[in-house]
Chain length 536, copies 2
């Protein structure tokens, strides 16, 4: 009798689902049936090895998958009641390139086998190289659980046999947030991280300072935030940073800080006027003064640890090895208007452009001496090309710039990130999700070049985004970018993706994320009329 | 020596603060110094009597007041290190009219007195009639604590002697949310409740159903949500409702459900076609059929408990005694197009307008039989006037309607709520906070009439508000309404209120609430340019 049931189950498995419409980003490989199977909200979990972070991830999984609480009564006897999570290297550090792959399997045991011993139940198995892969597995799994409001029961899609093998296409999948044009509360940043993890993004690129404000309070240079922040309240304490970094790490998200130099730095002068050319012509930072580099070193010591610490040094505020030093949009007119800087340039036979390049290289050296791998905007490649250190990662935002395109950067043997303006610039409100989805970082690149593209992401520049609208500006377009960065390259049909994206937007809303309508003419526009989340 | 210090403190107290600029809504009575005093984030709390809800409120207070974590080191020896909270009637139920008053005092003990025994410290005392008053006291207190990013220390404003005596002007201070035009996730509703509590609002008026959808899943009538919801996901399980009610109650917020009948009810027919005049002319609900009232009774049984239970009956999903039955915007043309209903009207010698009145009274009777106090939109007063039961609360949304104005309703001896369109209609995007603040519910009313205005609130109609923009549409304008409903009537100067409102908007942002700029031309517009939260 039992045999028959099992055989039927396997026959049913032959009816494979065309596509599981609740998955986003779509996994690398899915073999799934087109049925569902009851799953018990109180299912037992075996974590091997157990860890606090994995327990937390399991708690998030339960909260997401079983959002309407437990059944009224007992679970169906047939229901999946066991979840086994195995992590092969539990000590892997959350750094660039960490293995995020996982395998997820759900099935009901065949009869026979060992016989006896409670066998015959249904179970889910997760096998991951690292806990970060296991987090992704649980994220995928939560997307497959649905609730029946009539019966109060939960069901898992893709049954009777579900097997997902998954790994990201690109190692670096980011959201850039700009807390210098408008301060963003730690709570708002934490909420963005929560939603990033739902879309398997893994880097919060924190554009911490700009001409407009310097909100980060550091011991080494207290006047930066004291004079550079918008107000006494719109600042980050060291404890705020540490808490955000920990919150993100628990979700497999790294926090990559950006200190943009030498341009976009006028706010530095409010606390330290000596590092600027003049009070009324404040940026780029003054390259002629030792104070400028002394201040930068003090900041780097505090963020990265003192030199020769090796890797994430003692006392470092940020565990992340990558550090972004900006380098974009530098207009040297204020240098050329300063007698002091003109004299300094002449004495060295430097043009202003040369001095920009020297500034960038000096800043990179200082960061590298503290164990950092430096990221910079593509202007640094345009200026310095192959003379940049080989470890440099160039973030390309100007696809139109021949000099510093992804093709040129990768042809020069450097690694690159793709954040094209406007396709992945989330402040471009007339770019809809299809345009974001259509951008393929490796278009026109050889395989070897493509291998140097470590990833990219969406850039939420903050001129017109603050805590009131940042989430609705980011979502759902960032999800389109997330799938481009995660899923196999062949997955590129907009029409096929759209129902899944609409479902994912509904999922975000259900979890309290302020994701704007998918069909908006302009990003973050209000819905036009009453209706269901998937229709809008 | 000690004496001198104390005397100086009292002298300093003579320098009373003009106004404490971080308080919103402003308390009824504040006596405060214009200095600050260190306060210890690890301060001891004595709760008398202790209760789980009070412990939770204390946890929220600590999270809000000490958001940047504890000091690096020890607290200043002079710092306030004790908080005593005394609740006189710990068993008071959260129902309309519950005593929300509190007294809050912070001071440093004078020398002498008992002598010895650890005396001489600084402490905060909260004295409240109920725990709901104590919640408000802690909300006030959290608004007075600031953080010094340079020293890592917290300070309490209004010192050296702070005394707040406070109670709301109106007992009922609501936000109406509409989860029928767009479904709002329980998480989004919970977030709205969290922010409501920050502004001392106390009623979530939940417009649960409308022509567009019926998202509430009830045992008694499962087809209502099965057929009436936008999708399989955009529904509320009983457990979702219970959890939201509990979440709100822990913050002193009541959940007042609205089932709008007989108009705005076309969604009922999708599951129960028999309760409507015709499939293509679906509302108002069919007054000629017993099915209509049987269905309504089944819903009321489930929401309020079966009749004769007395008060909040056994098995009631909602502990709240008030129930809103709508009654607005009823267009009876579908009755007059139905042969069945025409015949029924003729047999009884009723006009369609008469039948509307009978429907309203019948629905009220059914709810009252289950212990409910019925609230309805002002159309019910226009139709029925003094024939409405004396317990009815009329919610006036049409200040322009002479027939059913606040003046007429209260002159007739009935209680009223004020939710004027457009001043307090939050979907009116061109109404700014000053217009909302300027509405005075008791304008033109006698003292006796004003005493019948139990309150009112902001109405967030959902045609163009969903989870992506609801919070930014509600805030900060709802805060203006909250102060009008809480603070003494004399507090009405916009220019004086504005800096405090801007500070409150910054507070909301700091706590992760998506509050739009105060100076927007239209509500929820993005900020125009980079800048600090208070400037926008």
């Amino acid at each position: 009798m039992r045999r028959t049931v099992v055989r039927l189950a396997w026959l049913a498995a032959a009816c494979t689902a065309e596509e599981l419409t609740t998955l986003w980003p779509y996994p690398a490989s899915v073999h799934a049936g087109d049925g569902t199977h009851p799953i018990c909200p109180g299912l037992r979990a075996r974590l091997e090895p157990a860890s606090r972070d994995l327990e937390r991830a399991l708690g998030r999984f339960r909260a997401h998958a079983f959002a309407h609480g437990p059944h009224g009564g007992e679970c169906d006897a047939r229901a999946i009641a066991e979840l086994r999570v195995r992590v092969r290297n539990a000590r892997a550090e959350l750094q660039a390139g960490v293995d995020e792959s996982y395998e997820l399997k759900a099935s009901c045991a065949a009869a026979g086998g060992g016989g006896g011993g409670g066998g015959g139940g249904c179970a889910i198995d997760v096998d991951a190289a690292t806990q970060f892969g296991a987090f992704h597995a649980l994220t995928t799994l939560a997307q497959l659980v649905s609730y029946d409001f009539a019966s109060g029961a939960y069901a898992l899609a893709g049954m009777p046999l579900l097997r997902v093998r998954d790994a990201p296409r690109f190692a670096h999948r980011e959201l850039l947030v700009d807390s210098a044009r408008h301060w963003l509360a730690p709570a708002a940043l934490g909420a963005l991280v929560d939603a990033m993890a739902m879309a398997k993004l893994n880097v919060l690129h924190w554009h911490l300072s700009d001409s407009t404000s310097f909100p980060l309070c550091l011991r080494a240079a207290p006047a930066l935030c004291a004079a550079g922040a918008f107000s006494a309240r719109e600042r980050y304490a060291r404890a705020d940073v540490a808490r955000l970094v920990a919150h993100a790490a628990q979700r497999g998200v790294r926090v990559l800080a950006e200190l943009d130099v030498p341009g976009h730095a006028a706010s530095w002068c409010r606390g330290y006027p000596r590092v600027c050319p003049a009070a009324d012509c404040a940026e780029p930072l003054n390259p002629a003064r030792a104070d400028t580099f002394a201040l930068l070193e003090a900041l780097l010591d505090e963020l990265l640890g003192a030199p020769a610490g090796g890797g994430a040094s003692r006392g470092a505020l940020l565990p992340e090895r990558l550090l972004h030093l900006g380098g974009d949009e530098v207009d040297t007119r204020c240098w050329e208007a300063s007698d002091e800087i003109i004299a300094w340039l002449r004495a060295r036979g430097l043009s202003a452009a040369d001095a920009y390049g020297r500034f960038v290289l000096r800043a990179h050296e200082l960061a590298a001496a503290r164990g950092a791998v430096v990221v910079g905007w593509d202007e640094i490649f345009e200026a310095l090309g192959g003379t940049l250190p080989r470890s440099t990662i160039v973030q390309v935002w100007r696809p139109w710039s021949r000099a510093s395109s992804l093709a040129n950067v990768t042809a020069a043997g450097l690694r690159a990130l793709s954040s094209p303006d406007p396709a992945w610039y989330l402040d471009s409100l007339d770019v809809n999700w299809t345009a974001a989805y259509a951008h393929e970082p490796c278009d026109g690149l050889s395989a070897a070049q493509c291998a140097r593209v470590v990833g990219g992401g969406g850039a939420m520049w903050g001129e017109r985004a603050d805590g009131s609208d940042v989430e609705a500006t980011v979502w759902p377009r960032l999800a389109a970018i997330a799938e481009r960065l995660w899923s196999p390259r062949a997955r590129s049909e907009t029409a096929r993706a759209e129902p899944r994206l609409r479902a994912f937007r509904c999922l975000l809303l259900a979890r309290g994320v302020a994701a704007a309508p998918v069909g908006n003419a302009r990003a973050r526009d209000a819905p036009r009329a009453p209706g269901g989340c998937a229709e809008q």
